[in-house]
């Protein structure tokens, strides 16, 4: 299962020219607003016709400027979750959910309304009307509606951007559930790094209508070249971890490639795969193993590279027994500790500094 996009489009002074592959899992299109992300998704959905190029899903050509007419949106069978939900106001939640069911591809595995409603926790809302729903509820119904049309792929254009932080945190687990149960590729547009780090398996970074970088999430997020673009405050590495055990004092012990991590309990059972984002500004470096610290996580690693920021800071990329970690420290500290590629250091991470929203199901 894979979507391949290679399109160019001119709209006034804006010039879009992108090519990328979206394999199975969640592919995040990340970039600031105006970078052309929504245009790409609209082109994939068939709501916008690019000037030139080609879009294909598993070899099925959705659009090819050279070979003539493209597939109309209703024949593409791609579920689209819009930023503003776009529920049909005159229909009940149940009828909204069922709207696309009759048009499912013949032979497609049709999800059952009850199963989807339970997955997204919207069963109590079925007889309500969209006008009476909260923003988060509306967005969950929109996700369910898209899933129930038995799509070959799911397109999501900033589905959480209209929600406040608390609502976002509420919906992220549902999105993880969709990602892990739907078994179809998801193209996820976002300008929020927390969402991307939580959900994405592949990340495509866009800027001014161009793809700046594309690849596996762990790789892209720890790329020092991208730090100035992604924003130094948002810099952080993504770690794959497995829950070892939950301790009585509310801590969870996780195993990562370079050792163990203690993080606040996140209610996942032992053995479950998780992904953890450790923000670069939450990592302290030491030139010897520190003693007598309150911080619970001390990882041994080696400096791979470092890069000067615009301000007084530098960002350091570490290899901790196979995991990549980013640390943001001052240039003064870097000089004092003699930080250079190859240098062995200890990285210190406070357990409580890892935000709940930065820990998700792997």
């Amino acid at each position: 299962m894979s979507l391949s996009v290679d399109i160019a489009h001119r709209l006034g002074s804006f010039d879009l020219n992108v090519a990328f592959e979206a394999p199975a899992g969640v592919t995040a299109l990340f970039g600031r607003s105006g970078s052309g992300k929504t245009s790409v998704v609209n082109a994939v959905a068939g709501l916008m016709r690019p000037t030139s190029g080609r879009i294909a899903l598993n070899g099925d050509v959705l659009f090819d400027a050279k070979t003539g007419p493209e597939q109309p949106p209703h024949r593409r069978h791609l579920g689209y979750v819009f930023q503003e939900a776009r529920l049909f106001p005159h229909l009940s939640v149940r009828k909204n959910l069922a709207y696309g069911q009759r048009f499912a591809r013949p032979g497609a595995e049709r999800p059952d309304l009850k199963t989807i409603a339970d997955l997204l926790d919207i069963t109590p809302l079925l007889d309500r009307r969209p006008g009476t729903l909260s923003g988060g509820e509306r967005q969950r119904v929109a996700i369910g509606r898209a899933l129930l049309s038995a799509p070959r792929m799911l397109l999501m254009d900033e589905p959480l951007s209209a929600l406040d932080a608390a609502r976002k945190a509420d919906i992220l687990p549902y999105l993880e559930a969709v990602r892990d149960s739907a078994g179809i590729p998801i193209l996820y547009v976002s300008h929020n790094m927390t969402e991307v780090a939580r959900l994405a398996t592949t990340v495509v970074i866009m800027d001014a209508g161009r793809v700046v970088k594309a690849g596996p999430a762990e790789e892209v997020l720890s790329d020092l070249d991208l730090v100035p673009m992604l924003g130094v405050r948002d810099a952080g590495a993504l770690l794959q971890a497995t829950v070892l055990r939950d301790h009585d004092d509310g801590m969870t012990e996780l195993s990562i490639a370079g050792g163990t991590l203690f993080l606040p309990d996140m209610g996942l059972g032992p053995g479950s795969r998780t992904r953890v984002r450790i923000m670069a500004h939450d990592v302290i470096l030491a030139d010897h193993r520190p003693e007598g610290l309150s911080a619970l996580n001390i990882l041994h690693g080696r400096v791979i590279a470092l890069r000067d920021g615009r301000g007084p800071g530098v960002i350091v990329r570490l290899d901790c027994g196979g995991d990549t970690l980013l640390a943001r420290i001052t240039r003064r500290s870097a000089q004092a500790l003699d930080i250079a590629p190859g240098r062995e250091v200890w990285a210190v991470v406070k357990s409580v500094s890892v935000a709940r929203t930065d820990i998700g199901a792997g």
């Binding site: 949106p73 209703h74 791609l78 776009r86 529920l87 048009f103 969209p130």
Partner: protein
């Protein structure tokens, strides 16, 4: 009501209701298509169509009536063809009154429906398309229900206008009792004879009553439809 109204008066009221009903019903599908073309269409000649639709609103009704007579009269090309092919005679018949009333009411109807279509969020139609719905289905299940309030308003407006149409009707189909003497023609006729003030006033009362009833009905229906469209 038939006791209070004389037979001639009752005849005029019934005829007007019949004419207005058919004029509204028959022009409604065409009105929706025209409004769609004007609101959403991108074709050369859109402005010409727009002007053509609005013409009856601007021209003197007598002119419209005379043009109808020139086109649909018994010896006129279209009129003759209709009579020979379908046996449909319009001039000096109630069917002609339907045509005259329909044409005069058409601009008002199209304007109201066009506003309703322009108020429908095309992004909802896009959403329906991404869910697999073909265009015709999207129109029937999303566009049409969402424009219902404006559609109702347009139909009621057209009905009221058709009830009151006078100039084009009397020019095209004359003022024949029982055939083309509609409510306004009847009021006019009663005012031409001595002692006709009583029946004329009764018909005026009926006119006002029917207008108010239509307005109340449309308000009620539009209110319901608007509530549905708002999603509550």
């Amino acid at each position: 009501m038939s006791g209070w109204l004389g037979p001639a008066e009752w005849q005029a009221v019934a005829l007007s209701l019949k004419v207005a009903f058919w004029a509204t019903l028959l022009s409604l599908p065409l009105g929706v298509l025209t409004a769609l073309a004007l609101a959403r269409g991108r074709f050369p000649g859109r402005q010409v169509l727009n002007a053509l639709v609005h013409l009856p609103l601007i021209m003197p009704p007598v002119v419209t009536g005379y043009l109808l007579l020139l086109t649909f009269g018994r010896r006129a090309p279209v009129g003759e063809w209709l009579a020979e092919t379908f046996g449909l005679v319009l001039a000096f018949r109630w069917t002609g009154a339907v045509l005259a009333a329909g044409i005069m009411a058409f601009p008002l109807m199209v304007r109201a429906i066009r506003l309703a279509i322009e108020a429908v969020d095309p992004r909802l139609e896009q959403a329906a398309a991404t869910l697999g719905a073909p265009r015709a289905w999207v129109f029937l299940t999303v566009t049409l229900p969402l424009m219902a309030p404006g559609l109702i308003a347009g139909a009621v407006l057209a009905f009221a206008k058709a009830m009151g149409e006078f100039g084009a009707t009397i020019t095209f189909v004359s003022n024949i009792p029982g055939e083309t003497r509609t409510l306004p023609s009847a009021i006019y006729s009663f005012l031409q004879v001595p002692g006709g003030d009583g029946p004329a006033l009764r018909l005026v009362a009926v006119s006002i009553f029917v207008s108010l009833l239509a307005l109340a009905l449309s308000e009620l229906l539009a209110h319901r439809a608007a509530k549905r469209v708002a999603g509550r």
